[in-house]
Symmetry: C2
Subunit: 238 residues, 2 copies
């Protein structure tokens, strides 16, 4: 049997959620951790940790995600394994995941997480278009995660990872607009999304300032995102 090498395996996760800014528009945001030790001490980095011998990479990603945010993700997928020799002073292979959190989960539970005393002090949420300087190659990793999300939103229902169980078409369109950073025609958006068969209309309506909007829920028969032959083994969905 070969003895273990000097290469260590880490897991990091880009955790994305939707957040309403001061202007009233929703935008993407993610939590970063301030590093307390070298290398890159005091710089911001993606949450993560070492892969242990008794857990799979996806479990490790879910674990570090829970430790950072106190939440379980609605979507979790492997992004890429980074292993360039010079990306860290010591030899590290990082298996990076990206995750989506429901907006309502974040609101409801992050306060509880904070109150419980388990919340790490050096975690902070940043708007995606106002990120600080990042440790390692994490800036590029976040860029890649966004690219994957923007691609995937076009041919899957990942956007629903941001929304609660019931939502209006305007909610969904807002999520798409935040992800793609462009305006979408409400009329055409409705038809496209209705044509996919992913949506189940309910008999409930959200009442507000204007004409009430019908609430929809997801057709759970349809996969959140086509992950091919990997199926659900390597990916966690809720």
């Amino acid at each position: 049997m070969t003895r273990s090498s000097g290469i260590r395996v880490a897991v990091s996760t880009a955790i994305l959620t939707l957040r309403r800014g001061d202007d009233g528009d929703a935008g993407l945001a993610l939590p970063l951790v301030r590093r307390t030790r070298e290398p890159f001490a005091d710089q911001w980095a993606l949450p993560g940790g070492w892969l242990t011998e008794t857990e799979s990479p996806v479990d490790a990603a879910a674990r570090t995600l829970a430790e950072t945010t106190g939440l379980a993700p609605s979507y979790l997928e492997q992004l890429y394994a980074f292993g360039a020799v010079d990306r860290s002073p010591t030899r590290v292979v990082s298996i990076v995941y990206w995750a989506l959190l429901r907006q309502d989960d974040v609101m409801a539970q992050s306060a509880a997480h904070l109150a419980s005393g388990h919340a790490p002090e050096n975690v902070q949420w940043f708007d995606i278009d106002a990120l600080p300087a990042l440790a390692f190659d994490h800036a590029k990793i976040i860029e890649y995660a966004l690219w994957r999300l923007r691609n995937k939103v076009g041919y899957s229902r990942v956007a629903h990872g941001f929304l609660p169980a019931e939502f209006t078409l305007a909610d969904l369109r807002e999520a798409y607009e935040a992800i793609l950073a462009k305006h979408l025609d409400p009329a055409n958006f409705r038809r496209q999304v209705e044509a996919t068969g992913n949506l189940l209309p309910t008999e409930r309506f959200r009442t507000g300032n204007h004409r009430p909007a019908r609430l929809y829920r997801y057709n759970t028969d349809v996969e959140l995102a086509d992950r091919g032959p990997l199926g659900s083994e390597e990916t966690s969905i809720r």
Copy 2:
């Protein structure tokens, strides 16, 4: 500094090429290696090896690919990092790549590789639809590699990874048909591929039994496949 863990990092590659079968039709084929030791001794597996401390994963993939086939790939991309606890008797994280080889390279050089005496004896090429029983989770990995290839052929020019520098539209269509395992209309195929701007017509023609066909070459200004913000750092293209 944390000491190294008991987790070892391996690299494997699904190496695909186009091969003409007895029926005259082209089909996908890949090389497998017969294992000489436990676990899964005498079973077939993807070529690969351990990641060393001084090489990046993509370099390791290219290295094992050269050792197996004596060839450099025309396309090489990371597929996935597999790390389930129980996928091997000892704890192994496998970074798996997929690669394309040019048909003419395989023909020209595999004989030379064999003659040189460096060719491993326990390597054998298999048609993709006649694979033997495979070690580890390699059957699922190959299935996933094919899924990725079939997806990617729809929105990129990866298919060209199978072809020599100059080729006819019939050559290209044959590659697409082999990948997608379905017949394509020659007239519509021509228009679609011409519309992409990836092809540069030459003034040379391939003469044969019928009307000569114009030879094309690739517009190297256009990326072989959109890999997003990762760029060429983590992927090798020729």
